[in-house]
């Protein structure tokens, strides 16, 4: 019975696409790098497809999350970013769920600068849903993103996922359109703030706000809140040589904690 309820919950989560299932809390943190030029990591294109446009060096990253402490809601992601002469290519792979319900995701993204201030990114996402006993479903949908640097400390960004809105999960249910508009402000070398307004089709707009603080050269603290699901998140990153380790915690007042671990390496 619990299993059926869990599957039902997860299917319903598809309708809160960007917010609960399938996308790790860490990946939705706007202060993680999408709106800053420094501190970018290979998962940055999850928020904004243009997030990797000015990446100078190749990066490789892994993340794992145990949503609300439930093994059934485990998810893992892998990301590789390789700069090219004109921009940067990113490949991201992810898995969410368990043997009775599984989402497999892949994303291929290309971002490039258009001049000194504007960045553009285009990402194609592949998602496959597998529930034993039911026919598997898969879909490909695009995501486009822009970033604009108002000055060296202030950046705004805009992205939309599935802009056409007509793509469905193999005729089953539509993939919602998700609009994001965000801003990042680097207050100082130590501190920055970022916020995003996220509007998913058929849902009330949500605000994600975050603060980034570097008390020491190799340590970064990030924290924020998702307004609609009332979840707080706290991430702590430690940089050692070319490797960066992040431990994150997402907290929901009723559902509990979701720990995340992220590793990425700069080559």
């Amino acid at each position: 019975m619990r299993l059926i309820l869990l599957i039902f919950f997860l299917i319903n989560c598809l309708f809160s696409f960007a917010q609960l299932s399938g996308i790790a809390g860490y990946l939705q943190d706007p202060s993680a790098g999408g709106y800053f030029l420094d501190g970018t990591d290979p998962f940055v294109t999850g928020n904004n497809a243009a997030g990797n446009a000015r990446m100078a060096r190749p990066m490789l990253g892994l993340s794992v999350e145990k949503r609300y402490g439930l093994r059934s809601l485990n998810q893992g992601s892998f990301s590789l970013a390789i700069p090219s002469s004109s921009g940067c290519w990113s490949l991201q792979l992810g898995y969410f769920g368990f043997n009775k319900y599984a989402e497999t995701r892949a994303g291929l993204c290309y971002g490039r600068p258009l001049g000194s201030r504007l960045d553009l990114g285009l990402r194609f996402n592949y998602m496959q849903l597998r529930i034993p006993g039911f026919q598997g479903r898969s879909v490909i949908y695009p995501q486009i993103g822009f970033r604009y640097m108002l000055n060296e400390n202030l950046m705004i960004g805009w992205s939309v996922s599935n802009p056409g809105g007509k793509i469905k999960l193999r005729g089953l249910y539509p993939i919602p359109i998700v609009y994001r508009i965000g801003i990042g402000y680097k207050i100082s070398e130590l501190t920055g703030i970022a916020a995003e307004i996220l509007k998913e089709e058929g849902r009330v707009p949500a605000v994600v706000a975050a603060v980034r603080y570097r008390p020491l050269k190799h340590i970064e603290l990030r924290g924020g809140i998702y307004s609609n699901s009332k979840q707080f998140f706290f991430n702590t990153s430690v940089q050692k040589n070319k490797m960066r380790y992040t431990i994150g915690l997402l907290w929901h007042q009723e559902l509990g904690f979701s720990p995340t671990m992220v590793w990425h390496s700069i080559f």
């Binding site: 402000y185 207050i187 100082s188 130590l190 501190t191 703030i193 603060v211 603080y213 924290g223 809140i225 307004s227 009332k230 707080f232 907290w251 007042q253 009723e254």
Partner: protein
């Protein structure tokens, strides 16, 4: 020189105008909204008014002196003490700009109340304190509107009088008398004159004695888990003011009849340690019943409104006795401190446990013990504080917070609290959603961001959980509170702000008549306010506000509330008079969508009425200083309800009158 003095005086006047208007107004409004009552304790107001005439010398001020300013956070107090320890005594007020974490706004707010002097502090000689202080006599007569029953023993007037002697903050004593509307006052029905009397004697910093109080006083311990009787605010736009800070013992001289101790207390200390002990014995109002079977007396109820207007209310006066004793031992300084606290209550009869399910964990019995340890620590730009308490050696409560100033432009605050349903506190007042210190878990996070000198963005998010039932909540419940405010200063003379607040909670839908355990529904309220304040020419200040409220009662039609007012205040420079006028319109669908608005009243009096129905309200305040020794206030207010109002009180037009006289000698 003249221009310099004029500019400086103008700045002080401007600061006085804005800072006096804005000090605690938001927090007082929020207090009234959450507690559904007004604040009686005017001790803080009195302290601030005293400081206007007797500014605090920052070169000799102690941590406790700075903590009395509610707009100074713990981080700012620590930063100032550290700066003074390192750099020595300040040379001028301009040096305040060099103090870390003291921004221009803080400096402007504190300027009217401080001075920089190289001379020593007030003499500690006891005879000098007795002879060189100042007496003041305050008398207030208020006629309040509202329902007035025929069986009230007294007239409609509210009378308050206070005689006080004060030598700085080192010695004070006083006598206070108060009578509420409807209570008898002298004459046939009252042989004692006032319904409530209060007296106090308070001595500070006399050798090893840091504080000595006899009479009525308030006790403030830790973060309010076991005891906090002074004024304390909860959520407000000032997100750095989440920490409780005040001396353990403070003299009490307000009109509130419940939240204070009556007896004696002392604090002795030297260098980094301090020991406080106190004892109190008071008679309290309430119903006491005698059980003929067990032949025992039980306290059935505790009456805390302080009203003794009718024979029934008078019959409950001073019916049971409460003894309180405790101590607090603290060790530390302005940067790190730990305290161990103990508090015991003893009643002359057993408190009877109420029978309703939500009161399952309410205290019952005759003896009541709370222990706690509280701490605070400042490390660079971060301040940690907290308290852990235990009730009857069984039920725990924990609160811990962090203040962080990440940059000159960005500050954060966090508070986590976890208070078990079985934890009880008679006079606790901690930073929580509930008014009682019990049955709550929650996380509060706030930020304050100043992208430029003229812009400020403040906000907080609070998520909380009530593990057990509460009044009007027949099941454990969750709630959230989100707030954001953007303010902009248009030059020196104007400020505009807009704020949005959203709260979610759950409540019982209807009284449970079907026998079902719970039929709750989510309640969401949204509140949007915009206001501005402009200093016009020749001492005129114009202020206006518009506020809209929406209340969604889970499935029912949303209810709306609206309020708009316009103030015109006249405070000319170098004149002994001032005046204020307000015109206000309000319209709400029901009591649930009521809207609150802070009103300027006579000195030391708070007025934060709630408005429901449809109507207009206006008031006029007048003040005149007869020389330096005597001041007089007059206030007239009226609320006129319209014929189609959803709420029509008895007596459609409700008028109020206040007269107040303050004489210093």
């Amino acid at each position: 020189m003249k221009i310099y003095l004029s500019v400086l005086f103008g700045i002080v006047f401007f600061v006085k105008t804005f800072s006096q208007e804005s000090i605690n107004e938001d927090a007082l409004e929020q207090f009234s909204v959450q507690e559904n009552q007004s604040q009686d304790d005017d001790s803080y107001h009195q302290s601030i008014e005293h400081l206007l005439k007797n500014p605090l010398n920052l070169n000799t001020a102690e941590t406790s002196d700075l903590q009395q300013f509610t707009f100074l956070s713990a981080l700012q107090v620590s930063a100032f003490i550290r700066y003074r320890n390192l750099a020595g005594k300040l040379l001028s007020i301009y040096e305040l700009q060099a103090v870390p974490l003291w921004d221009n706004e803080t400096i402007q707010r504190i300027l009217p109340y401080i001075k920089i002097s190289r001379s020593n502090s007030l003499k500690e000689d006891f005879m000098q304190r007795i002879k060189m202080g100042e007496y003041s006599f305050l008398s207030r007569l208020t006629f309040v509107p509202g329902r007035f029953e025929n069986n009230y023993k007294g007239g409609r007037e509210q009378v308050f009088s206070r005689l006080q002697y004060r030598y700085g903050n080192l010695l004070q004593w006083g006598l206070t008398g108060e009578k509420d509307p409807g209570e008898a006052w002298f004459g046939r029905n009252s042989g004692k004159g006032f319904d409530f009397y209060s007296a106090h004697f308070f001595l500070k910093n006399y050798g090893i004695v840091k504080a000595l109080v006899v009479g009525d006083y308030s006790v403030n311990i830790g973060q309010g888990l076991i005891q906090w009787q002074s004024m304390a605010f909860k959520k407000s736009p000032d997100i750095l003011l989440i920490k409780r800070q005040a001396p353990v013992l403070r003299p009490y001289h307000s009109s509130g009849e419940v939240f204070f101790q009556r007896g004696a207390g002392f604090t002795i200390g030297k260098k980094e340690w301090a020991l406080t002990g106190f004892y109190s014995s008071r008679k309290m109002d309430g119903a006491v019943i005698y059980d003929t079977i067990s032949e025992e007396k039980f306290i059935k109820s505790w009456k805390t409104d302080g009203l003794h207007r009718t024979d029934e209310e008078r019959a409950l006066k001073n019916k049971w006795k409460l003894k309180t004793y405790g101590f607090s031992f603290s060790y530390g300084n302005a940067f790190k401190n730990i305290s161990f606290n103990s508090l015991h209550y003893e009643m002359n009869a057993s408190m009877q446990k109420p029978s309703l399910p939500y009161q399952y964990f309410s205290f019952k019995g005759q003896f009541f013990t709370n222990l706690s340890v509280d701490w605070s620590m400042t490390y660079r730009n971060i301040h940690l504080f907290g308290e852990f308490a235990i009730h009857q050696f069984k039920a725990p409560a924990f609160i811990s917070g962090l203040l962080a100033s990440l940059d000159n432009r960005l500050s954060l605050s966090f508070i986590w609290r976890n208070i078990s349903p079985s934890y009880q506190s008679l006079f606790g007042n901690a930073f929580m959603e509930s008014s009682s210190v019990s049955n709550e878990k929650g996380l509060f996070a706030g930020f304050s961001f100043k992208p430029t000198v003229k812009w400020k963005i403040e906000g907080y998010a609070d998520v909380f959980h009530f593990p057990w039932l509460k009044y009007r909540k027949n099941a454990p419940s969750y709630g959230t509170d989100l707030f954001i405010q953007i303010s902009h200063r248009l030059g020196k003379d104007a400020e505009i702000l807009t704020r949005y607040k959203e709260e979610t909670d759950s409540e019982n839908f209807l009284p449970s008549t079907s026998g079902s355990i719970y039929n709750g529904y989510p309640v969401r309220s949204r509140n949007w306010r915009t206001q501005f304040q402009i200093k016009l020419n020749h001492g005129f200040i114009w202020r206006a506000r518009a506020e809209i409220k929406w209340v969604y009662n889970g499935g029912l039609q949303p209810e709306r509330g609206f309020l708009a007012f316009s103030d015109l205040i006249y405070r000319p420079l170098m004149k002994p008079y001032s005046a204020g006028f307000r015109f206000q319109f309000f319209e709400t669908d029901s009591y649930e969508s009521r809207v609150y608005a802070y009103e300027n009243d006579v000195l030391f009096r708070f007025s934060i009425p709630a408005f429901q129905g449809k109507g207009k309200r206006y008031y006029i305040n007048l003040q005149y200083d007869f020389g330096k020794k005597c001041s007089f206030w007059f206030r007239w207010s009226q609320t006129v309800y319209m014929k189609d109002s959803s709420y029509l009180p008895v007596g459609k037009n409700q008028s109020g009158l206040n007269f107040q006289l303050l004489y210093r000698f």
